[in-house]
Amino acid sequence: MKHVKNLALSTAVALGVAFSGVLSEAAKAEDSNYVPLLTYRTGPFAGSGIHIANGMADYLHMLNERDGGIGGVRLEIEECETGYNAQKGVECYEATKGKGALVYNPYSTGITLQLIPKASVDKIPVLSMGYGLSAAAVGETFPWVFNVPDTYWDGASVVIKYIGEQEGGRENLKGKKIGYIFLDAGYGREPIPLLEQLAEKYGFELLQYPVPGKEMQNQSSQWLNVRRDRPDYMVMWGWGAMNPTAIKEAVKIRFPMDKFIGVWWSAGEDDAAAGGAAAAGYKAMNFSGVGMDFPALQDIKKYVVDTGKVPTDPESMGGTLYNRGVLNSVIIAEGIRTAQELTGKKVITGADMRMGLESLDLTEERLAELGLSGFAHPMKVTCDDHAGSHPVFIQEWDGEKFVKVTDWIEPMRDVVRPLLEAAAADYAEKNAPWPARTEPCPN
């Protein structure tokens, strides 16, 4: 036993020595643009996170292989595993920001909230594509945060608009019951103020079914209530393991699936497939193309997936979430390219990147040049509006894959924008003294 204790002691001493030795940082390579990717391939949200992470990384790697980077400068891509955990997210941020990081994509509302105040201090923009703080769309208050193409409030307004169309006009919503099942965190609660406002305006009843994060995989009590309340429509704001569970439960209580509509983060193939053939008819919003019929995606396959440079499973390519990750990287890449054009520099900084993102104009022609014609709605960021309230479409699960069933639907800008401005003013007031915008508008 004595030797074992000695062993334990020496292990402890060795660990202590290793601590002090290992903690050094790698130097930044010259002549490259450094893009850290905060991803999660582990933890409870890995099921959704892996596809996003693959999509983001693959597109950037493909640019390196095909074009030698952007503007002749290679991209240095580093993934940092957050596990959707706010503590680790902040650690990843601190570990990578010193290497000349251009932009952060936290993929977690919690981490986004922590990075928003740091962005203006460290001069590194945050790109939360279709998530995060809705109020960040107000560029006057949040010059360093971008949530193009849409905020959650845009999404919620599209859902109500779509339901109104199904009922033959929004005036017919009067007296209807719309159930809202959501992840009980900042993410899921965000759309409630807008839904409540619309409920008052159109006279429908909003029923709320919160799902605590710990009980994502056990929603029987929520769906029991749904069965009792018999809402006419169900709207879902879910992520990770919550989505497949909700769809399974909906199938179990025989809720009419064509009246069940998810946000764009509840639009994964794996989510819907959990309900099997009975889930056919489930709908979800989306703003990025589905499928592989895009030259850029074929290039990803040709340059990095088939050559084994990235670990992506070719089967998962073209899925909703994978393509969402690709769209995220397209925005990053276009931001870098625009920044290079604006500044004339090849190797840019976070402040240049902010200007690039703020001047982002992804036109139809540009999408076609990128080999992504029809992949997304053309999007434009202005200094005033960092989200842009771009149209989204609705896709339907046919039992095997998602099919686009509507044209692009415009969000209700007239309702969303005043709410965004009020929320931004509220945020600035609560976080007083919030820094006033000093960055000049580049366009």
Binding site: E25, T39, L113
Partner: protein, 358 residues
């Protein structure tokens, strides 16, 4: 040889009862404080301060708090995360209601709210013991977490449901919020942690600490000898929760900058409990060692593959870290169930007899 106390004569009771009666301990503590207050700030970079030292100190303080309750008073608690949350939310409310009051004062004040809540949830400890008490503290964890989610007043009706820390200054230096430098935050966290650790070290060796240990070792005997279980146990709950509350407030004010209710979930409670168990129940030094093991080791392990030139994915590193840390936890618990504090004692004994072990 290095650690021999022979020849250190005590000529007064005061010297005999000093916090560090052995000269080597005194010198050792002095060196550690010198490193912490002078060497680290002069040499460390921002990443080391912000992502390693600050969380390490916050967790150390929380582990000290739980150690008071579990290690010294013998009451198992799984509500640490929630009590830390009470401190954080109290400090947030206080600083938004009184924006001009010094934030460090408010952080220290917020501990009293946690102490109050902790004492209430400590009441069942008079009737139930051991694992059953753990279950009632688990109830505290879930109930308080529910409050953080469901009472919007606590987070000032923020649309995000999270608390976001505003900019606060102390003596003209920004100490909280995004603009605070890691160095400023480090000094605040270090000072609070060191001050509370010294205070608790003194409480523990006095009348109060001894009465806690009597309750821990045998509560009936303690009661027969005149220790009142009600006051003693509740005081342990209150003191423990106070420290945890301060640690929780420091966690969001000087480290994370924003916190969702899930930041104070059961996971945090377990994290702190593992630190206490691995470090050594009933040892203040153990709390620091346990926190270092649970927090610093995984961070350090992540850099190893890069440092020796192996290119593997971030998620593989994460999986490897999980496995290595898990294996080490099992290894240390099998080999030395009394934790790192006991290993340190063994090391001291070896240093004492070196180079002639017997």
């Amino acid at each position: 040889m290095f650690y021999r106390e022979a020849g250190q004569y005590k000529t007064s009771y005061e010297a005999d009862q000093a916090l560090f009666p052995i000269r080597q301990d005194l010198v050792g503590i002095g060196v550690i404080l010198l490193v912490a207050f002078v060497v680290i700030p002069l040499t460390a970079n921002d990443f080391f301060l912000a992502s390693i030292m600050i969380p390490f100190l916050v967790f150390s303080l929380a582990a000290i708090g739980l150690n008071v309750l579990t290690g010294f008073c013998g009451q198992l608690s799984l509500g640490t995360g929630a009590f830390m949350g009470v401190g954080a939310y109290a400090a947030y409310k206080l600083t938004t209601i009184f924006p001009d009051v010094n934030v460090v004062f408010l952080v220290l004040l917020s501990g009293f709210f946690a102490a109050f809540i902790g004492a209430i949830f400590g009441l069942p400890s008079l009737r139930i013991k051991g694992l059953y008490l753990a279950v009632t503290t688990l109830a505290a964890q879930f109930f308080l977490e529910w409050c953080f989610i469901r009472i919007p007043w606590l987070y000032n009706y923020n649309a995000s449901g999270a608390i976001e820390i505003p900019k606060r200054e102390m003596f003209g230096v920004v100490v909280s919020g995004a603009e605070a430098t890691p160095l400023a935050r480090y000094f605040v966290v270090l000072s609070i942690t060191v001050a509370i650790a010294f205070l608790i070290a003194n409480v523990l060796r006095g009348r109060i600490g001894r009465s806690w240990m009597m309750i821990r070792d045998m509560d009936i005997a303690a009661e027969l000898m005149g220790i009142r279980p009600l006051q003693t146990k509740l005081m342990a709950f209150a003191v423990s929760s106070y420290i945890c509350g301060v640690a929780g407030a420091m966690m969001v004010f000087f480290w994370l900058n924003a916190a969702e209710p899930s930041s104070y979930s059961i996971t945090l409670s377990f994290q702190i409990l593992f630190m206490v168990i691995l470090g050594g129940l009933g040892s203040l030094g153990g709390a620091f060692l346990g926190a270092a093991f649970i927090w610093i080791l995984p961070v350090a392990l992540k850099f190893i593959p890069g440092a020796i030139g192996i290119e593997i994915g971030a998620e593989t590193v994460e999986h490897l870290t999980f496995m290595v840390v898990g294996a080490l936890i099992i290894f240390f618990l099998i080999v030395e169930p009394h934790g790192f504090a006991r290993l340190w004692q063994i090391a001291k004994q070896k240093l004492r007899v070196w180079p002639f072990p017997y």
